[in-house]
Structures are given as structure tokens and as C-alpha cells.
Amino acid sequence: MQQIKLLLGDEAIAEGALQSGIKGVYAYPGTPSTEITEYIQHSLLSEENGIHCTWSSNEKTAMEAALGMSYAGCRSLVCMKHVGMNVAADAFVNAAMTGANGGLVVVAADDPSMHSSQNEQDSRFYGKFAMIPVLEPSTQQEAYEMVQYAFTLSEQEKLPVLLRITTRLAHSRAAVNIRTERPDIARKTVADDPSSWVLLPANAKKKNMALTAKQSHLERLSGENAFFKLTLSEQGNGKGIITCGTGYNYVMENKALEAGFHVLKIAQYPVPEEKVKDFAAQCTEILVVEDGQPFLEEQVRSIVGGGYPLRGRLTGELPRTGELNPDHVATALGMKSAPFFKIPDGIVPRPPALCQGCGHRDVYIALNKVLADYPASKVFADIGCYTLGALPPFCAIDTCVDMGASITMAKGAADAGLFPAVAVIGDSTFTHSGMTGLLDAVNDHSNITVIISDNLTTAMTGGQDSAGTNKFEAICLALGVEKEHVKVVVPLPKNMDEITATIRKEIEYQGVSVIIPRRECMQTLARKKRKALSKRNQEGTK
């Protein structure tokens, strides 16, 4: 039996994973990957089958837990945004060395154009780096099918498999045909092979040789799967397009086949070299259309050689950076027509802003008041809603780099004599990557003031549970911050005098102090109220 559901790409992946019989999903929230885990959390099947689906503290703990589940013989899914791959990288790359036992699929959601990110790194490079298969779906339906293929492939090749998507697929909805019967996926026996799983040099050397030797086999699979597609145009003009992922959709939107282009769609890496060679021989020139960095283009270049007419992001036919769209592809195919309307002069941007009534606002108002007396002060901030403190009217932060960098950069700056060095970090980001940095600061008795702005949730991604809720004072004390320098305040306008006095006092303290302004996120609070109201309404109608 089949059922049609209107799903985001993320949700289609979640459906595919449930259909594959996963025993657990491990993830840290991150746009545009968050909805995969949320969908599994809300599915009835999770409860029925005892599927693990609570949030992990960060992407590395998620990756390692999933590897442990694979070791134990069950299928597991790991989801993260592209920059999360940096955090998980140690575990991810070494998981390619141990290999997988139960199917292990890692989903990396890239964010070209940086809609909600600090860079636009392309996760396919990580797959190549780790020398494992990488899959790239074009549509929501393919995403659903491909996850299932990924689990099969992972168990067949005994390797983790990376599924790479981009924001556009993750956050676009389309009808997906879902199978309603659940296949019976047999649990494997626990891996009992220390020579594979203990990565001592003696073992790792053998595993590395085996993984390297396997590459030509993996390459062949890339050209043989159900998603690989070669379409020769009937009106062939000798020109070819090699494309993948959402790029394929833009090629088809522009009716490239009707216009005489042969189209080769690649859905799996390593790049199938023979197929690319054959295709190049059938064409006189090739355009590479891919969303993200020129990962495919560089490899096609090395396959076809320097003299072959190859165009793409590197040659300027397509933009070098940013998300691809159908208009870019139309231009590259020579089909562009100018739009009729323009944006009228005088229309101004409307940047995002902290919500009215948000506790982070009170934190920045207080911080700005105090730091006005310290012209040499610097505020090292972190990743979350409070990064918006960089914008007017606050203009309150000086840096934002990666999760946890607030505390450690403040520490390094303080080591160099900068005073006052203030770190601003959110509750969820603190447990993600801030704790170890705080320990460094405590051990060095660094002169920093850390503000953990606690809104009791992972707010930016939509209000997921935060791993450290109710534990922050205990964590700071356990890491060695002195008791009299762990201060909790309630960020409300009426408490402004108390908050500014606390900040001033702790800045003047020569050592590590932690101030925890704590008040629930306005969004999660409003959502709770709405839920309660609709529950009352429903009970009223019964």
C-alpha cells in the first residue's frame, strides 16, 4: 500500500529512515537539518518501536553514539548541518576506518548562500576525505528512496554512508509516495572484531589499505545505482550537462533536453570516472551544474583533462558562490530573459531581530550600559539568537565564529592582556562546546567574564530541548568556577540595576566569573500558551 504525504525534504529523509528500521537518530539541532529528527520524535513509530530520538549535546557525541549503535548491530541515523560536520569530523572520518556493522547513515545539510549559517562549506568534501560513499538526492521522493538505499549500501559495503542535501531540498515541500508496509529489518549480531574496531596503528594500517583498495569498486557503484541517469537529447547539439542534486531540477526546469543538451545526472560519489569519460566523448563541451562548491566540477576537470571545454562555477558561467537557482542555470544555458518588473528604488532590507520581550535584549542593554565605562572592552559572542546582538540597536558584540568560541577566544584575548574580555554564550551552545573551554579558563585562572544567557531552550532552531537545562550552576561549579563568582540574574527591565551591578562587579573580579541571566524564550513560552489554549478549546467542544 502507498500513501501520499506532503513532506519537506527533511521529513522525507525521516520517513525513509523509519522505513529502513532505524533503532535511533542522533543529532544536534541545526538549520537546515533540524526537522529530520523532529519528524522522527513526533512519529508514532518511534514510541512503538522504542527508537532513540532525544537530542545529543553536539554533533560529535551524536556521531559516536550512532557508531556505537551500529557496532551493536542496529541501524542508526545521524543528522547535522554542514558546520556540524566539523564538530563530528574526528568521529566521522575514523568511522570510515572502523567501518559500520548495523547500517550507519550520516545526513549533512549544507546551506549555500548561508541563509542561516556562518559559511557555505560543502560536505561532499568530507565524504571524499573519509573515502566513503556520498549520496545526493534531487527531489523529496528521491530523498525518501535514497535513505533506504543508503542503509542497504552501508550494510553491504560495511561503511558509513553520507547523504548530502542543501537548504533548498531540506526546506521545500512536495508530495512523496510513502510505502505503508514496514519491512522487517533483521538486527545484526554485535560486531565482535577488535581488529576492525580498535584503531591501533597496526589495525588501522590494514583498514586504511582495505578502504583505499575499495575505492574503484565504490566508484563503479556510483554509476550503477537507480538514481544515476543519462539522458541523451533527441535534438542533440553536442553540448552536455553534468549535474547533481537540486542542480538537476534547474536544468530540467529550463527544458535543457528539448534545447538539445545531453544530461548526465550523478547521484553518488566517488565520481564514476568511466561514465564521465564516456559522456565527455559524446559531447563537444560540458557545463557542470551543482549546488555548493565546485566539488564535481574539479573532479570532472581532472577526468576530461585541461583542454576539454568545461564550464561551470570555476569558469564564471555560473556564480562562484551562493545558492544556485533556475535563473542562474538559464543564463548559463543562454536562455535568460530579463524580468519585467524591478524592485522599486527606496525599498530597504528588513534584517531579522531579537523578538520583543526576549531576555537576550535585557542582557545586551545591561552589558552596553556597563561597557560604556570600559572603552577597551571586547565582547566575544557565539552561535544562536543572541548573535543578532551584532545588529542595531544593540551593536553589542565584537566576534562570532563557531560554537564555543566565545569563551575560548575571550580567554586567549585575556591571556594577551585584553581587558575586559567578556564572553556571551547561550545555554545550548555552552553544553555543545563551551564547557571544555571554561575548564581551560579556570585552570589558567584567566581574567574573563562569561555570560551564559539561558533561555531554557535551543531557540534559534525552533525551541528544542537544551541539554544543560537546570544544570548550569552545577556544571560551572564542577568545572572549578568559584561559588561566589557564579551569579544568576533574571533578565527583565525592572531588574536592570541589579544586572548591571552584577556585571560590573564580576568584570572587576580578576579571574573567571560566570553570570547566568535566566528567563524562558518568548517563542517557547508563547507556544506553550497556545498549546494549552487549543487543548482547552478542544475539551470545550467535546
Binding site: P339, P344, P351, P352, A353, N537, Q538
Partner: protein, 192 residues
């Protein structure tokens, strides 16, 4: 038949709910649909846009190409103008005329003049109508009502059925409020 619609507004104004209603109606009607949403940072009081593509044939791109939208449906007048390059020559703009003032120098005069200069435009004083009829939470559904006759590929009745379907988990009172808003919007639309 194919319809491309740009939904726009400010984060929190309920444009994704409009998309959900149209999406539900399209799926029930057996149409193909692609709807690109915005999540994450930009949702916090910033400009938001969602491209909605409906067709009885296969749709490839999740994104609406420039110059191809049949309709821009906007909860905010400046946000309607921001996406004009996506509109085709004969396309319609249906927008709230009530500015959302959360930025320093809102160009009210520029916006008013630019909208007045469009040939196919319907502006709705959403703030006033929702105040008059005490339906503060249904401004987005009211706007959808205004657009109901212009969507074309779906009938107003199909949309109304989806409003019931989408809001029913929230209780009958919420459903009725939204149906009322939808009907007010339809009447407004018909008068244009």
C-alpha cells in the same frame, strides 16, 4: 495548467500557514506542488518569502524563476514589492496595505506610490478589517480569501475545505474564526 505564487511578509505574520492551506488543497486535488519555505535565523522579525508552485504537470524547480509568478500574495506592502522581479507581466499583487514597522526608516511614501503604480494590484486594509470583525489571529486567512478567486487552479470551495482540515485540531472555535475571515476576504476580493 501551472500557477506560481510568491507568499511574502515579515517573520511571524503567518505566511507559512497560508502555504499549508494551499498545499493541503492542492494535494487533495491531486495537483503537483513544490513549496520552498524559510526556516531559521531570518524568521525572527525579518523578511520571509515562500515560493509555491502548483501544476497539473511535473514541477522541477523548487524555486520560482524570475518573471514567472502569477501572483504575489503579501502580508506586508513593502514585502510585496521586494519580490516584484518574480512577477510576470500580467501577474497580480494582492497585499495588505498595513505596514509592519519594525525598522528605523520605513519608506512609507515609496511603498504607497510604487503599489499605486502597478496595473494589477489589490491592496487590503487588513488591520482595519480584522479589528472591525474581532478576528485578530486570522489576518493571513483573510488575505487568502481575497486571493481565492485569483488562484485559479484551485476553487475557493477547495480552499475552504482545507481551512477546516488544517485548523480542526485546534478546536471548532478556531475553525469558525478562520472560515469567517476567509469569507470576509472573498467578499472583499469580489468587490475589486
Amino acid at each position: 495548467m501551472k500557477k506560481d505564487i510568491i507568499l511574502s511578509g515579515v517573520g511571524g505574520q503567518g505566511i507559512l500557514s497560508i502555504a499549508t492551506i494551499i498545499g493541503d488543497a492542492a494535494t487533495r486535488a491531486g495537483l503537483n506542488l513544490k513549496q520552498a519555505e524559510v526556516h531559521g535565523m531570518s524568521q525572527r522579525g525579518g523578511e520571509v518569502e515562500s515560493g509555491l508552485r502548483l501544476s497539473d504537470t511535473e514541477i522541477h524547480s523548487d524555486l520560482v524563476p524570475l518573471g514567472s509568478a502569477d501572483l504575489i500574495l503579501s502580508m506586508e506592502p513593502m514585502e510585496a514589492l521586494r519580490y516584484l522581479p518574480f512577477l510576470q507581466k500580467e501577474g497580480y499583487v494582492i497585499t495588505s496595505s498595513s505596514p509592519f514597522l519594525n525598522i528605523a526608516a520605513y519608506p512609507e511614501e515609496v511603498v504607497r506610490r510604487a503599489l499605486a503604480g502597478l496595473e494589477h494590484v489589490i491592496t487590503v486594509d487588513l488591520d482595519q478589517i480584522i479589528r472591525e470583525h474581532s478576528i485578530p489571529k486570522s489576518a493571513n486567512v483573510l488575505l487568502l480569501g481575497v486571493a481565492a478567486e485569483f488562484i485559479g487552479i484551485l476553487t475557493p470551495e477547495q480552499l475552504e475545505e482545507s481551512i477546516r482540515n488544517i485548523f480542526s485540531p485546534k478546536g471548532e472555535a478556531v475553525v469558525e474564526m478562520n472560515i469567517k475571515a476567509f469569507k470576509l476576504g472573498r467578499e472583499y476580493g469580489k468587490r475589486q
